[in-house]
């Protein structure tokens, strides 16, 4: 699988990868499962499931807690994953990888931990396309510190209105938090230039990479952000594990919000001091088997290459857009140019409500997401309360999209009889 372009075409047209995903063997009644909800959680290949089980069967200790062999092995596995993730995500030596529960917890860690550095009237810049995970924690922070939230608007075509950017950013901006890829619009945002501008006014930059990692090559160093948050379970990895990658000088500014075992340096009856980064942000026992399994998910992605997966996503997105646009009364959310998008397409069928569509599709064995996809303000801005989303993983191919299109026509038949 050397050539990413050839690999992506093979994945798109005659997908050999499916056999590696046990849950794709499920049948929905008398039909095969067609999984188009990758953006909610990716399915996991057998080797990742096995890796988690193997850890429990073999090492099964608690890292950094004891001198016996199992604990020592668990420590090596745990810290091995940290190094592997750092290399994979291209974190430079002056950055660290913190294990969290998920992307949401990683963002909360920053939004809550930074509170002491935010004062009344300081500004936090978000975009109108944020997932609630990268919105609500900042609302809480703003309320607590009497800070002001400013939004970089989204245009009608679903891109950031960058012409307004100079007026949104100011000397008062302390944090810019934005998504790399929108989980509704699919839009890929120009993080590098935004981070550069934000740093010029002294603001910190947090990037929500939940929908980009595992879909395209993501380099923490190249993006130029101070913080990067993502979840293992959207990248073929286990649930219950997420990551906060941060520059050390930025992480230093965060007060740990969860305290207790393993995150301390010295505890007396009166006081406690914190362990060095990253340990100070990892209070209590982690999801060790998930940490142990994640390198196998990285291996899986690297076997095909993130670049090939990106091309594969774009081929599928292009095909999905083309097919959907042939149907009357379907409105695509987000840019119409697949090159500007990640591997998902949300749409509004003005004839059949998303829930009704999703129920009928489910009866046909097709799993899509229907609702606001944790982006209520964005939906409201677009004049919708819900939409239907199809999202793609490495196991998706053109036949899945054909089935979706066919399903939409069947749903319309139910509603026009």
């Amino acid at each position: 699988m050397g050539d990413p372009a050839a690999t992506s075409v093979e994945l798109t047209e005659n997908n050999p990868v499916r056999a590696r995903f046990p849950s794709l063997n499920r049948r929905m009644g008398d039909r095969p499962l067609i999984y188009l909800d990758h953006a909610a959680t990716s399915l996991r290949p057998a080797e990742v499931i096995d890796a988690a089980c193997d850890f429990c069967r073999l090492h099964d200790g608690n890292p950094h807690r004891g001198l016996h062999t199992l604990s020592a092995e668990a420590t090596a596995v745990y810290e091995g994953t940290r190094e592997r993730v750092a290399r994979w995500i291209d974190a430079p030596p002056d950055a660290a990888v913190v294990f969290t529960r998920n992307a949401t917890a990683a963002i909360n860690l920053v939004a809550r931990g930074i509170a002491d550095h935010i004062g009344e009237g300081d500004e936090i810049v978000l975009t109108e396309m944020e997932h609630h995970a990268n919105l609500v924690p900042w609302l809480m922070l703003a309320k607590k510190r009497r800070a002001v939230i400013r939004y970089l608007p989204v245009t009608d075509s679903g891109e950031l209105a960058l012409d307004t950017w100079p007026s949104v950013l100011s000397e008062r901006t302390k944090i810019v938090a934005l998504t790399h890829v929108s989980n509704v619009l699919g839009t890929i945002n120009p993080i590098e230039s935004i981070a550069e501008d934000a740093h010029r006014v002294g603001a910190l930059v947090l990037v929500d990479a939940a929908q980009s990692v595992g879909h395209m090559p993501v380099s923490f160093a190249r993006l130029g952000a101070d913080f990067l948050a993502f979840s293992a379970h959207k990248s073929y990895g286990p649930t219950g594990l997420g990551f906060l990658v941060g520059r050390l000088d930025a992480l230093e500014r965060l007060e740990p919000m969860e305290t207790g075992g393993e995150m301390i340096e010295l505890v007396t009856f009166e006081t406690a001091t914190w362990a060095p980064i990253p340990g100070r942000f990892e209070a209590g026992t982690a999801n060790i088997s998930a940490v142990a399994a994640f390198p196998t998910a990285i291996d899986f992605i690297e076997l095909y290459s993130a670049h090939a997966i990106d091309l594969h996503d774009k081929l599928l997105t292009e095909y999905a857009l083309e097919q959907l646009l042939r149907i009357d009364d379907i409105r695509i959310l987000g840019p119409l140019d697949p090159q500007l998008r990640g591997g998902l397409v949300a749409f509004d069928d003005t004839r059949v409500h998303p829930h009704d569509l999703a129920t009928i599709l489910n009866e046909l064995g097709i799993a899509v997401r229907a609702g606001h996809h944790c982006a209520q303000p964005l939906h409201r801005k677009m004049g919708l309360s819900a939409s239907t989303r199809a999202s793609f993983g490495i196991y998706s191919d053109l036949t899945d999209i054909d089935a979706l299109i066919d399903g939409i026509h069947q749903a319309r038949k139910v509603f026009t009889r």
């Binding site: 009644g29 059949v352 409500h353 998303p354 829930h355 009704d356 129920t359 009928i360 009866e363 046909l364 229907a370 609702g371 606001h372 209520q376 939906h379 309360s385 819900a386 139910v414 509603f415 009889r417």
Partner: protein, 157 residues
Amino acid sequence: MNFDDLYRDVILDHHRHPRGTDPIDHPHASFFGVNPTCGDEVTVKLEIDRDKVVAIQVEASGCAISTAAGSMIAEAAVGKSFDQFQDLTESLKQMLRTGDPLDDPNLGDLDALIGVHQFPVRVKCATLAVTTALQAFKIYMKKHPSEARRELTIEAG
């Protein structure tokens, strides 16, 4: 797969031509309900006289099941006392839970929602309007305890 059991003709008819849409300008009680997981919304306004619903306005935005259920509630609610409305709510919920047809004349067209029983994730769509209407009614009862009591004493007498 036959979808007609879920999307029965009666349901599609209510969805396409919802009842209870005439505006009530001075409601005695109103309540806004939302289904946070999916974003369906409904506002119910009630006009109540002597503890009985005399007019109801349902403004629903959402899927066919939730809008149809709102329309059916609008029909079924008129003339009901608080207790009757509470019973109706319970009957509907029970039918959706058990899948057993109910022989409750209070339900009106609501019995057509029985197919929703097979789709547990959609039960909330079918109950949003009725629970919202019940909340509105409860607010009224809280604000007018005397009237409710008067009704009770009249019945007792």
